[in-house]
Symmetry: C2
Subunit: 354 residues, 2 copies
């Protein structure tokens, strides 16, 4: 009798995958999914999809049931995407024919492996993909529970208060700004010196803005923060540098990589410089600002471009961030087991104090 | 009787100062000097010279006797130069008149404060300055014991096996290369991707070479290391990138900032780019290599330029490096008390295993 009842229950295999740019805590979310899934007998096999949707379309799945216990601990503290990521999009808007073929192939793979639980950790595009797969499953009458797990260092996902990955980047970047501030300040001469730290965030300034936590007092670095959302006022910018140099002997600027000039163009893309193939050279926002400062103020200026280092810095990850990312993975599994599909896990702020 | 004997002993005040680019452990050396000096009654007052020789010439001295106990702990773990540094040189070769005036002024300040022990933490130029001050003291018959304390992230000081500051930079940079390798590797697509990490060391490749410790196996990052001492062979470089991409899907290059082309010119200085003032733009070695790779291999390439962040990264300093820097400060005081002057403390390797 119990056997018959059990067979009526919703059971099946689980597939978890990662997408988009890695973060230092995206593996923690996967660890959360695996950890929680292991507790529920309704979930039979646990598969990892290699390189996101791109790999799943190629049936690149690995069985991670066996590795459960020993991988979780390590995964929580491993940077980058352990399963690999992709930027592949099932693009109905621009390429409906290919998208349609992709969906057929995807459900072929899901059916072949009896996948009934699908978790996709990623940013805006990945959440969109998750939702499309959910809708397609409903349309096809294929029982599947799809839950998105939020991930992006940019902190630009709607609905969630903040996004796993962001806290660690801010911790690392703010520490770096604090340390660079001490360094440049200790070399301050009468002539003054300036240092520009370029950080990620092409369209969203959350990462640049977050480095303000480096300030313990008014005169601490960063002295100027440039956000992609606010067009650069060159005159005000140079005046603020001059005023800071006059007062402190040095000036630390944090620039989001997508900072724009008065005309709304990214200043990191200098079209006056052409490479051997005739393409505009992207020299980066910090380098462009350095040229501006050295040219107009004749001020010794150096740059730091953290690039991928900031989103890979596991050695300085935020413990809270790791825990929250893991909790998102756990919550995704719980939501799916409650019968939910087509949702994204979100973090809700309950208090302003930690 | 004892009083008379004591008055015949060599006693006086101590001055410690820092010079050149800061490191993450240069304050540890100062802590070592202060800690050891506090144990010896022959050393009366302990002064810090602000901004090296430059500040001492301006009589910018601070009394650090009182702060001894509470500062040492913090100093050991504070990046940059707590006393401030300078790049001022007493330059007999090129400006003998000014150098002569500087020496007169310097000994005026030393005499005014009865400085009999002088410790200067710095690189090659600073050790040269220490030696000149020692020789000048001998010439003037002014009893002074001058000991140089080695400091430079570049690891290019002669006589010492390795240099305090270097180990921490390598620890930080190798960790970063390892993390960036994980990140780029996890995004590897069929098209492949490349990342160039530019590190310090304009003339010496020790820092770039040191990142090899990031490798645990043959295929780990870094896949290519470019040293300033070896001119870039473009063809071999591009072929090695292509071969690495074909095998692994990604390639991590570490480039010392001073890497040179076949003609012996620094590739970071691209003279084809002229700023609004008609000066050659220094876009950095990594950016130049990126242009080369993107142009010739049409390969997605990103850059990381650690800049000052690498020599200021106290959050990831090497404990051994901190201890050795402190030991150099302690050894400097002991040597001075033994009557030595005109020497630099050095680290001697006793075993190849830690």
């Amino acid at each position: 009798m119990e056997n018959t009842e059990a067979s009526n229950e919703f059971t099946g295999n689980l597939l978890v995958a990662q997408s988009g740019g890695p973060t230092v805590v995206i593996n923690s979310s996967v660890a959360g999914v695996i950890q929680e899934a292991g507790k529920h007998p309704e979930i039979e096999e646990i598969y990892g999809g290699l390189n996101g949707i791109y790999g799943i379309l190629n049936e690149d799945l690995i069985d991670i049931n066996d590795e459960k216990a020993k991988t979780i601990g390590a995964l929580k503290h491993t940077p980058a995407a352990a399963l690999g990521t992709c930027r592949y999009k099932i693009d109905f808007a621009n390429n409906p024919e290919q998208a349609s073929k992709d969906m057929d192939r995807l459900f072929q793979v899901l059916e072949a492996h009896n996948i009934r639980f699908f978790f996709y950790a990623g940013g805006n595009d990945s959440q969109d993909t998750s939702n499309k797969i959910h809708e397609e499953a409903v349309k096809r009458g294929y029982e599947l529970r799809v839950i998105g797990v939020p991930k992006t260092i940019d902190n630009d996902l709607p609905h969630t208060d903040h996004c796993p990955g962001y806290g660690s980047v801010v911790k690392y970047n703010a520490t770096t700004v604090m340390e660079v501030g001490e360094d440049v300040g200790s070399m301050a001469t009468d002539d003054g010196s300036c240092c520009i730290v370029e950080v990620m965030g092409r369209a969203a300034g959350w990462i640049a803005a977050g480095t303000v936590v480096a300030k313990r007092s008014e005169d601490d670095a960063p002295h100027i923060i440039l956000l992609p959302e606010i067009r650069l006022n060159e005159e005000a910018f140079l005046a603020k540098i001059k005023e800071t140099i006059d007062r402190l002997g040095y000036c630390i600027v944090v620039a989001g990589e997508g900072v724009k000039n008065a005309a709304g163009e990214e200043i990191g893309a200098d079209k006056s410089k052409i490479d051997s193939f005739g393409h505009a050279v992207l020299s980066g926002a910090a380098e462009s600002l350095k040229e501006l400062i050295q040219g107009k103020l004749n001020l010794k200026t150096r740059t730091v471009k953290l690039g991928y280092a900031q989103r890979a810095a596991a050695h300085h990850a935020s413990a809270t961030d790791i825990d929250e990312a893991l909790a998102c993975g756990v919550a995704a599994v719980k939501a799916a087991l409650e019968g939910k599909s087509g949702f994204m896990v979100k973090l809700v702020r309950l208090a302003k104090e930690p």
